[in-house]
Amino acid sequence: MRIFFLTVAALAVMAATAFAAGKQVKYLGIHPIAKANGGGFCYIEGPHVHLYAADKVQYRDHRGYQHFVGDPVAYGYDGPKHVYKGHHPIHVDVVVGDSEPDTEFCYLDGPHYHYFAPPEGPEFKVAGGAYFFVAEPPKAYVEARPVMIEINAIYRPLVYVRPVVTVDAPIGWIGARAEFAAPVVVAPVVGVDARVVVPVPSVRVNIGVGIGVPGVIIHDHRHGRGHGHGKHKKWK
């Protein structure tokens, strides 16, 4: 009889665990909260759980945890941020501070923010306070890009204060290399001020931005523009 009760109790615990595990989604790091789930921004930096799923576009799986790799400012994030321009790797293990190597790739076109800076090294150059990826991208980046770059559609309609980078890109910047240029797409610009910012998913734009500009201007201004992300595991 006693064994029967112990067995029932054990099954109840297992069932409860399975129920919770089935509904919970593990996250690692800060991330936006979809409007359907209340909206706003989650500032929990460490591992945590929510009851809603992460989308497959702006999140990458890291050890079973969802890690946000988008532009947090687009969702109201108010904290330290760093300016990047164009596509670049994200060393998730460095961002979250663990030992399991995991390098993803960001497919955001044009200037955007992340809440993390890249690790020091030769693959990034800084110009005017913005990070430019100047190293050789992995094959996986190139292969996945045609699909991943479509992700820009998510950010295109978002209106928020974005960085504007008008500076000559460093030599070797991925955005100025014809072999990595995206198909020319002229996307509509949703502006809330009078300035026109040419959509970035364009070879012409990437080459043209900053040419002849002697200085560096990074300033905020409102407009709509596309951004996107993709995923590549452990290519470093």
Partner: protein
């Protein structure tokens, strides 16, 4: 008779230590492998110093640990359990998530402690309280 009493007390102490019966809060012996009695108070004090407002914590019963106390911090439910070893505390993280249940929450080992927190009343929509609960544990990571 006196020796018998001494032997009984010694045996009782030896039996209690590996079980992590950390009721003697504030008396951390510091020996490797010994229960970190008082570490729960250290955590609570760290939270207070960090600007959080823990309620009084009281003994509570959960299936995965014997020595647990529950309370709230800034209206977020918090469970602090002391496990016999760091490995067992780490292993308790998943059961801790089961305790979180249908809520946003955390479950994290810090030394021999397992700290789980669940925002069941949606008192922390931005997660800033949960983040502080976690970050203030960093020294024990």
């Amino acid at each position: 008779m006196r020796w018998t009493l001494v032997m009984v007390l010694a045996a009782a102490a030896a039996a209690a230590a590996p079980l992590g019966c950390g009721k003697e809060e504030g008396k951390d012996g510091g020996k490797p492998g010994a229960p970190s009695a008082g570490s729960r108070d250290v955590v609570l004090e760290a939270w207070r110093k960090g600007g959080l407002a823990p309620s009084p914590f009281a003994a509570t019963t959960v299936a995965f640990a014997k020595d647990c106390q529950g309370g709230t911090v800034n209206n977020v439910d918090v469970l602090i359990c002391e496990l016999p070893s760091e490995a067992e505390a780490k292993a308790a993280e998943d059961p801790g998530l089961a305790w979180v249940g249908d809520a946003t929450g955390i479950s994290r080992a810090a030394g021999k402690l397992l700290i789980a927190a669940a925002d069941r009343r949606k008192a922390d929509p931005s997660g800033k309280t949960l983040n502080q609960l976690t970050k203030l544990l960093a020294p024990s990571k």
